[in-house]
């Protein structure tokens, strides 16, 4: 079976992608594991151009990548030579000591890389980022003008603008945000808390530190926003809110940069919505200056449990995949971090975040536990079923139990 399907795949690859590039690889096997979305598919396909008589390139882009990456890279030899990761999914690979430092490979083959693409842990390069993402503000200037308010730059102004839009009878529910219980809702808390400038954990430990003035401010603002959101907001994820916006049901939204292109595309959004949409950095909160959205990157890492030959081949193939030509060829597929990239209209929000000093999503190992806990415990609060004190106490207790089990707290 294995041989059969492999034969089939390579036969198809031959007919479907006649492009072959000389990536300068002598020989080796390149096996890529990645998440499944358009930009990563482009990178994988470009890497596949390095295939030759002595070099094999295969890729598995799957939404389940995070569930299999640790097991796949623990095996020796590892099932995959390249694991594509983001801020959060690199953490288990670092924790399991499953990826190799790339300093020598970068020195040898990485001339095209810019300094800000290197992910350094303790001075060693552990990953190479090639694209950025993040949530930012999306709004309709026609509605704001009709309501007589300026484009908001803080959450406080967003609330005033929403009130004005509602009062003028322009929309029943002016705001949408992905408040679906679980990962989405937690991400909104994380975003806004980052905007306050405070830290999630006490320095030098995994002890939770969100039970403070800033934590309460974030909770209060989140609850206030729900008054202007459609009633089923606890089930609305990023896709649902984007659809509401495209259909003109809401006028101000915080959503992902990677979805921005669909909002200004008149074949997907109502033409009047697409025409009136503007992007801006995520709003600030509580009089601060930091956009309240985490900066995310996507990048690649090279497995530890593989031969040096395969590691070298993989690195070279990836250098080909994220060469400046990729960004030039697909300028709208992502906010590339690749040199020579000229941002398109959909990249405005993410770049505004970065320029206004937004913070990166924390890469500490216990952040994942906090994120899961927030996703489980916050819904009761935003629904109005409990107060902020209770919510913070619940989050702390649930996080402590999980972190103790994972060995981060004693």
């Amino acid at each position: 079976m294995r041989n059969f399907s492999f034969g089939l795949v390579s036969a198809l690859a031959l007919t479907a992608t006649p492009v072959f590039a000389d990536c300068g690889i002598a020989s080796g096997s390149v096996r890529i594991l990645s998440n499944d979305f358009a930009a990563l598919r482009i990178v994988n396909e470009t890497a596949a151009e390095c295939a030759s008589g002595t070099v094999t390139v295969t890729s598995n882009n799957t939404t389940e990548h995070k569930n299999i990456q640790v097991a796949a890279l623990t095996a020796n030899p590892a099932e995959y030579t390249v694991a594509m990761v983001a801020n959060n999914s690199i953490v288990p690979l670092l924790g399991g000591d499953l990826i190799r430092p790339l300093d020598d490979l970068v020195a040898k083959y990485g001339q095209q890389l810019q300094p800000n693409q290197l992910i350094k842990i303790d001075g060693k390069i552990m990953g190479i980022a090639f694209m950025a993402n993040g949530q930012h503000l999306v709004m309709r200037k026609d509605l704001l003008e009709a309501a007589g308010v300026a484009a908001p730059t803080s959450w406080e102004e967003v609330l005033t603008a929403a009130a004005a839009i509602k009062e003028k009878g322009l929309l029943d529910y002016p705001i949408a945000a992905p408040y679906a219980a679980g990962w989405d809702l937690a991400a909104e808390f994380v975003n806004m808390y980052l905007g306050t400038g405070a830290d999630f954990f006490e320095p030098g430990s995994a002890k939770l530190a969100i039970d403070n003035e800033q934590g309460r401010l974030v909770l209060k603002t989140m609850r206030e926003m729900t008054a202007f959101m459609p009633p089923d907001y606890v089930t609305q994820d990023t896709d649902a809110t984007a659809q509401l916006y495209r259909d003109g049901q809401v006028g101000i939204m915080q959503n992902w940069g990677s979805l921005a292109a669909t909002l200004i595309d008149p074949t997907k959004a109502k033409p009047e919505v697409a025409a009136a949409t503007v992007f801006a950095a995520a709003p600030t909160v509580g009089g601060g200056t930091i956009p309240s959205a985490a900066l995310w990157w996507d990048g690649f890492t090279i497995a530890k449990n593989i031969s040096d030959e395969d590691a070298e081949a993989s690195f070279q193939a990836m250098m080909h995949a994220i060469a400046p030509e990729t960004a030039a060829k697909h300028p709208d597929a992502a906010v590339w971090l690749i040199s020579g990239y000229t941002p398109g209209p959909a990249a405005v929000g993410v770049i505004a975040n970065a320029n206004s000093g937004a913070r990166a999503y924390p890469m500490v190992p216990w952040m994942g536990l906090l994120h899961e806990t927030l996703g489980n415990e916050l819904a009761d609060y935003v629904k109005g079923a409990e107060d902020a004190e209770r919510a913070l106490a619940d989050i702390t207790a649930a996080y402590n139990a999980a972190a103790t089990q994972a060995g981060y707290l004693n």
Partner: protein, 344 residues
């Protein structure tokens, strides 16, 4: 049948189950008794694109790996994981019990604990959907029995549709039909004369929708089994009852139902177990703000963005099996009695 030939017949099945179910189950149980080693923390400098470099506390990988290689299972924790805040929460429940002034306060406190919130919905769902789906299935079976023979084929086949559609997308489409702008959502708004009605906005409505969905998708299984059973009901007995002057309802009650009893037990067993493990509709309906189940908690512990919480999932799984055991023991006792009675 002698032992040797019995085991020769059983071998393939037994080996498959031992290797892929029994062995993992044992390892899951063992795993649930352990937690990770206390991790060694160090201060390092982390540089990320755009965010710049920051000093961060993180895990000392080498030191932790050494601990792990000395004792790969981790640290023995006994039943610690079972009773922690994210599972049975013995301490929190004790505190609640002593501090609550009234039963209502105690119950609302319990519902604030993740495990009991999930358990409450799981039990509610299991005990409502199972009888509802079985009753609906039985009703359909009785009615289809009356349908003219020519129409029976298509009728049976369309009746099975809810069971046949891939649940993943089937539930997603229903979810969209039910949202406040969807066709069913709007139909409900018109029906209840409330334009602001949204089935996804409150816990009671979400629960009702999930129950309705559960009944809809489970009824066909009961239907097809009971319909088959009806074909086997002895015509002689029915006629005898008829001649004795039994009414239509009495015939169903005293002849049809008793002869379907083994089937009812079979369907009950399967449905109780399946409904106790409900989790697909919760995912497709994005309903976890208002309803979670034990199986959903397991899924959530394993399907994380970062490290999977194997210990937590293992503990919840063992608790799930324990609950299912309690549910099905009475039915099994009945099966055992019938076996003992030497019916075979």
């Amino acid at each position: 049948m002698p032992h040797s030939s019995f085991f020769r017949f059983m071998a393939p099945s037994l080996i498959a189950m031992l290797l892929f179910i029994a062995l993992p189950t044992v390892s899951i149980f063992v795993q649930s008794l352990y937690v990770e080693h206390p991790q060694v923390l160090i201060e390092t400098e982390t540089c990320q694109p755009l965010g710049g470099c920051v000093k961060e506390t993180t895990v000392d990988v080498a030191a932790t790996a050494k601990l792990r290689s000395e004792a790969p299972l981790g640290q023995f924790n006994g039943l610690g994981t079972y009773v922690d805040r994210n599972h049975l929460a013995i301490n929190s429940v004790g505190l609640l019990w002593s501090r609550s002034g009234s039963l209502g306060e105690f119950v609302s406190g319990m519902m604030n604990l993740r495990f009991y919130r999930a358990l409450a919905f799981t039990l509610f769902y299991c005990f409502l959907v199972t009888p509802l789906a079985m009753a609906l299935g039985f009703g359909i079976a009785l009615a289809v029995n009356v349908v003219p023979r020519l129409m029976k084929g298509p009728v049976i086949f369309f009746s099975l549709v809810p069971m046949l559609i891939t649940p993943l997308v089937g539930a997603l489409i229903l979810f969209w039909m039910l949202n406040s702008d969807g066709i069913l959502g709007v139909a409900l708004q018109v029906l209840f004369n409330d334009p602001g009605l949204s089935t996804q906005s409150s816990a009671p409505l979400t629960w009702i929708m999930l129950i309705v969905y559960g009944t809809w998708t489970n009824a066909p299984f009961s239907f097809i089994v009971f319909y088959a059973g009806l074909q086997a009901v002895s015509r002689d007995t029915l006629e005898a009852a008829m001649i004795d002057g039994a009414s239509r309802w009495e015939r169903v009650r005293y002849v049809v139902l008793p002869s379907l009893k083994p089937l009812v037990l079979f369907v009950l067993l399967v449905q109780l177990m399946d409904n106790f493990r409900v989790f697909e509709p919760i995912i497709s309906f994005n309903a976890s703000a208002n309803a979670t189940s034990l199986a959903f908690d397991i899924y959530a512990s394993l399907n994380t963005q970062t490290s999977q919480l194997f210990g937590s999932a293992a503990a919840t799984s063992v608790i799930t099996i324990a609950f299912i055991a309690v549910l099905i023991v009475p039915i099994l006792a009945r099966v055992a009695r019938e076996l003992q009675a030497g019916r075979v």
